[in-house]
């Protein structure tokens, strides 16, 4: 049985392998056409690549651009002022607001309320539309002021940024943000009151970017449950890329067998204590605290959305316009180390890039590991766990689709996934 996925970004289908009418295995066929980004960046300068990689994903482009800039700064030994760094982090948090708002309000909410679309939900409760669109529109304004536009921002480069907004532009955002908190609280009242009908405690390892003091954001180390690794050690030694016997989709598994989870739930469960106290107070009101399961991912997203808005408000209130000094011209820097790598918590989880530079400082090799590709193995494991042995009917497909939506996959990003061939289990000898 096969059914296209809806309420997710990108193209895929859920495929059920049946044995005599009962579910044996679930997997996700990714029909999204590959764009070969790791090939197209070869032979190009780092400056170009910073803008190119934004095109991998239409929702989390800043994560890609920010990460590429950081990776190249590291290996080209370019130091960035702390003011500039803080500015870029705010732009990245604006993207977290954008992505979580789009996912929770347009994809999660209809799924939770069993409506076919946001429009149908809006007919039942028009205020929901107004509040959700207020937040999405505000995230758009944030991204325009700090990044230039909603997607493919133009304000990140190796060495810093091109432009810092005027006090007037920031003041307009500051004046509006309290209204946004009001919209958020009204939506939170509905969303935080939902309890997912699927109860599944997580027994899978959870991975996120390691953070010394703050909430998980970006860095050179990752933490898998309680073990800390450098990104290089993790992605080259700990994780292996596995090809399943009946499936041609590549998946990432720890030490070749154990699937793991990345995303808001991983971050929330590990770094809950580092959220603003207002976030924890709000969650306590509705009786939410860690550990959350992946089916409660919408709670983690709401918490992160709120936390990001609080951080952004503090920044807007303390904003002092200054001509932020960025490194003006990065041509001519020679790499101290020709391997450039870094990790950023994209909205959907750990994103990792690794570039190798040649003698002419152009890219010779590139590896991009996306959060969705990392979650594919665990998505299949969990969907199979929930449905194995049940009759292969529409309800089973619905459960498998719910698993996909809970993980908020961004299929366009999944550069390493392959189209899958379906094999009817009964035909195998």
């Amino acid at each position: 049985m096969k059914s296209p996925l809806t309420l997710v970004e990108g193209e895929g289908s859920v495929v059920i392998i049946e044995r005599e009418g009962y579910v044996d295995r679930v997997f996700y066929e990714i029909t999204e056409a590959p764009r070969f980004f790791e090939y197209i960046v070869r032979g190009k300068s780092p400056e170009l690549v910073v803008d190119f990689v934004s095109r991998v994903c239409g929702i989390c482009g800043v994560s890609y651009t920010f990460l590429a800039a950081k990776a190249f700064e590291k290996c080209l030994n370019i130091e960035v002022d702390s003011d500039v760094e803080e500015f870029r982090e705010i732009l990245h948090l604006a993207e977290r607001v954008k992505s979580h708002a789009l996912h929770v309000f347009l994809m999660n909410l209809p799924e939770i309320t069993k409506t076919r679309s946001f429009s149908e939900l809006a007919e039942r409760n028009p205020k929901v539309v107004k509040n959700a669109f207020n937040i999405i529109s505000y995230s758009r304004k944030l991204m325009r002021v700090f990044g230039g536009r909603f997607h493919n921002v133009v304000n990140i480069k190796i060495g810093g940024v091109y432009f810092t907004p005027s006090r007037d532009d920031v003041e307009k955002l500051r004046n509006e943000i309290n209204g946004i908190f009001k919209s958020f609280t009204e939506l939170a009242d509905i969303i935080l009151s939902f309890r997912s009908s699927i109860h599944l405690a997580i027994s899978k390892p959870q991975l996120c970017v390691y953070a010394e003091k703050s909430y998980s954001h970006h860095g050179e180390k990752v933490v898998l449950d309680n073990a800390i690794y450098t990104t290089e050690a993790f992605y080259r030694n700990i994780v292996s890329v596995v090809q399943k016997e009946y499936s041609t989709a590549l998946q990432y598994r720890v030490k070749g067998s154990e699937s793991f989870i990345v995303g808001p739930v991983s971050r929330f469960n590990r770094y809950y204590d580092r959220l603003h106290s207002e976030v924890k107070d709000l969650l306590n009101t509705y009786d939410w605290r860690p550990p959350l399961s992946v089916f409660e991912g919408y709670i983690a997203r709401m918490a992160e959305l709120y936390d990001a808005l609080l951080t952004i408000r503090e920044y807007l209130e303390n904003y002092k316009y200054r001509d932020i000094v960025s490194v003006k011209n990065t041509v001519g820097y020679r790499s101290a180390n020709n391997v450039c790598e870094y990790a950023v918590e994209a909205p959907r989880g750990v994103l990792y890039h690794r570039y190798v530079l040649g003698k002419d400082c152009k890219i010779v090799e590139c590896d991009i590991v996306t959060p969705t590709a990392q979650n594919l193995a665990v998505m299949e494991d969990i969907a199979t766990q929930l449905t194995r042995g049940k009759r292969a009917l529409e309800e089973t497909i619905a459960i498998a689709k719910s698993v996909a939506i809970a993980f908020d996959p961004c299929i366009s990003c999944s550069v390493h996934t392959l189209p899958v061939k379906v094999i009817n289990f009964n035909k195998r000898s």
């Binding site: 056409a33 239409g58 076919r116 230039g148 536009r149 909603f150 997607h151 432009f163 041609t248 392959l418």
Partner: protein, 254 residues
Amino acid sequence: MIRVLVAKLTSCSGCLSEVIYALTHSDIRAKYNVTYFTEVLDVDKISNAELAFIEGSITTKHQEEFLKNLRSQVEFLIALGTCALMGGVQSLRLEGNIEDVKKTIYPEPRYIDVLSEVKPVDSVVKVDFAIPGCPINGDALVSFLRKYALGGLPVAIYETVCSECKRKNIPCIIVTQKSPCLGPITTSGCGALCPQFGRGCYGCYGLKFFDITREKINVLLDRLVELKVDEGDLKAILLAYSFKLYSKLKESRC
């Protein structure tokens, strides 16, 4: 209400986010009924409609068939963005042979089923209207939807980014900063976004499609190379965002 389909091919969904932005306007929602948009609607089959928006280029046989089927069910088809109009950044893979490209990245390249070409939408079906950009300008889409609902279409504009700089009193980036800028040969529509931010245009809206020849492009490229821009990088940018046009002009005899 006008029935609308929204479909995605080989692309990143960035232009679809602009469609979502257009739908946040209550007057647009009052006039248009979106009946297919898998990212936000739990509907997986297309049906007859008046309008269709297409994001992305065509790189698989399945997409080709899907698009032809969709075209037969709509009256007016709009191509959105650089991928749909020009092929998109993924066109850069055409610098190499597809079998080599696959082998470079995948351990089992035989399982990758893609066309050797990257096709813009109009090489597969008739396109009635096009909105350029990477991503498109959401306000341009809103303007289109408002005019279309009134029975009209936006006036076609034949300008480059330079015109937008002049209107906004932005001093020329090449002249005052000696920074490279592709504005003189790039289609307008972004509002001179990068020059506003103090950087040169990198041509993401695509080459201007009117009054353009290989010679005119080379005049600008020569000037930019004088400003110490890497020529290989310049050509890569032009192929990435203007593949359909630039690949033809490169070979042309003019």
